[in-house]
Every structure is written in C-alpha cells, then in structure tokens.
Symmetry: C2
Subunit: 215 residues, 2 copies
C-alpha cells in the first residue's frame, strides 16, 4: 500500500491517521506541493486531479480522502471509524462533512494561491478569509458536539472515528493561522484527547520524514 502525500496536506493527514488507526502499514511517496510536484505530468498520471492524497493498493488508485476512509472502513472494519446505527453514522459523517466540504476546500493551497493571484488579496485578507471559514464551520461543529449526548471523549462516544479524523487536521491548520480556538471548548477537548492517541500523534505533519527538510 502506497500513500502519495505531503506532510502539510490536511487531506493526506486524515488518511495517515486512518491508516494508523486501522494498524495498516504503508509506504509514503512524497509529492512536494511547495514545488508544484502535484501538477507534474508524472503525478497527473497517478491522479488526473493533481491532488494528494492518492492511495495505491495493488494496482488500484484511490482518490479523495473521504472516499479512501470509507474504503478502509469497508475492507478493515475493525477498529470501526463509524458507530452502530444508521442515525449515528449519519451524525458522524455530517460532522466530518462540515469540515471536509465546508471548511477545508476553502482554505487549501490552490484557493489561497488564487486569492493572492487573480484576486490580488493581501496576506491580511487571506488570513481573514482563512479564519472566517474555520469559524463558520467550527461555529456549527461546536454546538453539534456540545449539545449532544452522543459526544463522548471523542466526537462520537469514547472511540476515535471519522469525525475526529477530519477534526484534528483542521485544528492543526486553525492553529497555524492563529484562529481563536478558546471559543470552541468541546472541539479543543476532543482534539486534546485525540492527540494523546498514538495514531493521531504519529500522523502529524511535524513527524513526517520530509518535514525537517522542507519546513
């Protein structure tokens, strides 16, 4: 199993956590986003979208972190990312989707480059944009967590799952952009719990082999 990734990519970070939680060994193929390697013809032959992560299993290339995580859950059901019960699974997937669909896509590298390029946004405008979408999303995630008896030590119950896997990389990014996370005590509490777990800790950007060379 080979993961095309990059230490700072949130979506690759998710897949690293997922693979660690499932105790699946994998090789990493670095795709250096800072030098534009993801846009090379060579990488486009792996993923026509030119994005990481891509997970190669045997000769099958799997794209898009949410689809990859559902795949891993299907082929390695234990430990489970998703709880028992269709309503509970819908809750966990919705929390994950708020982050994966409504926060992260607005703040990825391609978008920030478009803001500073064609839209001539200043660094301050980009930072304000970044924080705005994090807060819009976290303003929904926080009450959904704090107001539900389903929330436990993790986003759903007392075991890590799909929502936690999406939440943690987003909190990392929020911290990088100095978002005020004190507004989100439940998110902070779950994040802290996650980071005490080896699967999350080992997946963090600073612990990837390329981090020291590139940062």
């Amino acid at each position: 199993m080979k993961l095309y990734g990059y230490f700072r990519s949130s979506a690759a970070f998710r897949v690293r956590i997922a693979l660690n939680l499932k105790c699946l060994a994998y090789d990493t193929e670095l795709v250096n986003l800072s030098t534009g390697q993801h846009l090379s013809d060579e990488f486009r032959r792996v993923n026509p979208q030119g994005r990481v992560p891509a997970l190669v299993i045997n000769d099958t290339v799997l794209l898009q972190s949410p689809a990859i995580m559902e795949y891993l859950e299907e082929i390695h059901p234990t430990p489970a990312f998703l709880p028992e019960g269709a309503e509970a699974r819908a809750r966990v997937r919705a929390l994950a989707d708020i982050i994966a669909c409504d926060i992260h896509p607005l703040n990825n590298l391609a978008v920030l480059n478009y803001l500073s390029g064609p839209l001539s946004a200043s660094d301050e405008q980009k930072t304000t944009w970044y924080r705005h979408w994090v807060m819009e999303g976290f303003n929904a995630v926080e009450p959904l967590l704090a107001g539900s008896a389903d929330t436990g030590r993790f986003c759903h119950g007392d075991a890590p799952g799909l929502a936690d896997i999406c939440l943690v990389p987003q909190v990392f990014n929020a911290q990088r952009f100095d978002c005020d996370l004190s507004l989100y005590p439940t998110i902070e509490r779950v994040y802290t719990t996650c980071m005490e777990h080896e699967a999350f800790d080992a997946a963090q950007p600073a612990k990837q082999p390329e981090a020291a060379d590139i940062a």
Copy 2:
C-alpha cells in the same frame, strides 16, 4: 420525512434526486436563501450551521447532503446508489467527492457573497472564479470517466448512483454561469442521460414549487 431546502441549492437538489431515486415521498419546507431565512434563529434551531438541506426523519435531523445520501443508501438499499465491490464504491465516492468537496463549496452563495463583500470582487471576477473551480474539477472528472471501462451510460455502469447525483446539479450550475461544457463530452453525455430519468428531471430547480414565485 421533511426536507428543508431551496430550489436553487445544489446540495438540496442532490437530496431531492436521491429521494426520488429511492421512491421516497417527502414534504418540503422552503428555506429562502435569497432573503437570508437560512440564517434565522428559527432555522438555526433545526441546523446550527444555517445551511440547507436538512432532512428530518421522525425526530432526527440529518445534515450535509453526502451524509444524508449515505444514510438513505443504508436504510433503503434498493435501488442502490453504490455499486458492488469496495473498489467500485471508492471510485463512485471519489467522483462524488471531487464535486462535493472541490467544486461546489467554492461556488456556493456564502462564498460568492464574501468575494463581493470583504474582497470587493467585481461580477466579472466572481464569474471567472466560478468557472475556474468548475473547470478545475471537471478537468479531473472528465478523464476519470472517459478513461475508465467502469463508466457506462451513467458515471458507473448503467444505473444512476452517487456520482451522477452530484454531477447533475453541478452541471446545472455550470450552465447558469455559462461554463464551456463542450470540453467535457463524457460529462455532457452522462448529464443528458440522467436528465431523461424522471428522478433527476422532477428534482430540477425550475420544477420546484417556489421557483416561479422567487425567480
């Protein structure tokens, strides 16, 4: 079953198609995005995120269209949105995710309002932005469809599924913004096939009751 939606919301459009494909009857509760009704305290009590769709079944509120579609697939497995086989399901989900995560979130109403508000973007800049993200996404979807033997009359095989459900509302939006779809012959072909299907046709914005009053 009650769907909080709006005729022009792509994400609500997806859920309308999904409910139609599963032959599930539902009531509609209009949330008028053009007057900001989604941001009212009343609607925030239904969905703290202030977004449509929200699907209420018994007393459970389901949020986020991808999570809602997975839920419908679980509780009403026939006709299936997802094919047999984990790799095939991962392919369909990845196609859906390219649209649901990498195109649509960049082009929704909240983002366009931010562009014209804090970033003072002109209408022309907003249209260019819109088309840019549609093309970025469709530039990946087209070869993934055209280059795969798994593609049939629909995105995967000869029955409509999750990828088609996401594709069709995105094509509608692309047409509204005059994107050049002739670059994407496979997308156009699948879109045409879908629109011949009653479940897709009946779900289109112009056929929703509020369309005549609001448009």
